[in-house]
Chain length 263, copies 2
């Protein structure tokens, strides 16, 4: 393990807080769960939490801060979400306004931060079970697609589910379902196995986000609900201010991946 | 199966809607999940939902209505929560004001209804696995205790966890953990096994709610988080109006028990 992989989450977060790390977090603090960040004004918080509750596969909630508090008390009680991620995106009225490395100057007393589970945890579980993860092999981003699967609506939030795809050897598909089912807090079991057209994906080689990956003979495309969904849905209602992590620049929690296994 | 056990949930709810059933729901619509009901004003809804999210074992959320809507769209889209339970309790400023068989006259546009998982589902799973459930054998209520385990606080909501106890033969304790772990939406795995004093219960024969049950030689007391917790916690903040199901008079959903198994 390199020095970043063997770091404790707290050390990794201190690097970011001190402005000494603004790169992606993949591979840092190995064994600890990383999380997606969505920050919204309190006026949207109930609807958004309800949306997450109704759509736990794309929006698995790991922690929600008290309004005005930047401290994720459940998953990292000494962290500060305003400074402890390497890179943030600031959206105004649904449009990307800037990318920054800290947000303390933007913080307001009416803000609520949501931390949502991230696929890194279940990908590690797949790897531990000898199941290949193509985009990791290829050193690229996971391919992501907008589907024709509607999320359950909640107040002002609605929209289609975004999924990620991993090609799985046909004789490991059942095991991949079992392995990821153990981790509902990080997207859990797949939402679809096989023909992409059945969930409204016209061309699996042309993802809407991320990079295409090859599907080899004998492999089956397997689709999991993706953490991009809540951001995409929140954007549709054009909140006056919304802050998220920059893609791949996640929040590193104090919780071990294994702690999110339900059994 | 008797006529009540073999009813579809919709038929059972119609009996209640028409005022023809005001008794407990145990044993009705066998195989379908029943739920606890908590109705609060919208001003408390975010804090309460957050409390549930932070305390999923005592407060497993199955559905939350849109503010003003009495329809649980996820679990029973043609039901009406104002009329489809056999019996309700109305609390004003934290004090029981009345017990009624419908609440349409009390309904307001700012109300939000929460349906929370109920132990009936995991008890059936225990019975299906050959594990005895003492209070069912004894035709009494499950014994419940206030513990020294603090729930995670959320906004105005805080308080101790209430647990229920079932004596389990020592050689079936591990299986009982496995079986109930599969159902996190209905309280899930136990929170404690063995010595009641370790969680602040002075005398296991004197429950705070429900009825005492005997623990036979060779049995171990096993404690699960209890759905009374959210009601008890909500009461502590003395909401101007709160409505719940009357104990044992649950809401019957259209969802099969098995659908809540995570694997």
């Amino acid at each position: 393990m390199n020095e970043f992989a063997s770091m404790h989450p707290k050390e990794a977060r201190m690097l970011m807080r001190e402005g000494r790390w603004d790169k992606p977090t993949a591979g840092m603090a190995a064994g600890y769960a990383q999380a997606n960040l969505v920050i919204l004004p309190q006026s949207l918080a109930f609807d958004f939490l309800l949306f997450c509750q109704r759509n736990p596969k794309p929006c698995p909630v790991l922690d929600v801060t008290e309004p005005g508090s930047p401290v994720p008390a459940l998953v990292a009680p000494d962290a500060d979400l305003r400074t402890d991620l390497p890179r943030y995106r600031v959206y105004r009225k649904g449009v990307l306004a800037e990318e920054v490395t800290r947000i303390d100057h933007l913080w307001r007393e009416d803000m609520v931060a949501f931390l949502l589970g991230c696929s890194f945890t279940f990908e590690q579980a797949l790897l531990d079970n000898g199941i290949p993860v193509r985009h990791i092999e290829q050193h690229c981003n996971v391919p992501m697609y907008v589907t024709n699967l509607d999320c359950a609506k909640a107040g002002r939030f609605s929209g289609p589910m975004v999924v990620s795809m991993r090609p799985i050897p046909h004789d490991q598909v059942v095991r991949a379902v079992q392995v990821t089912s153990r981790f509902p807090a990080v997207h859990g079991a797949p939402v679809h196995i096989g023909d992409p057209r059945q969930i409204g994906i016209a061309d699996v080689n042309t993802p809407d986000f991320g990079d295409p990956v090859p599907i080899y003979p004998g492999e089956v495309p397997v689709f999991w609900a993706c953490g991009v969904t809540p951001q995409a849905v929140a954007m549709r209602c054009k909140p006056e201010l919304m802050i998220t992590h920059a893609p791949g620049h996640m929040f590193i929690t104090d919780q071990r991946d294994a702690q999110y296994g339900v059994l």
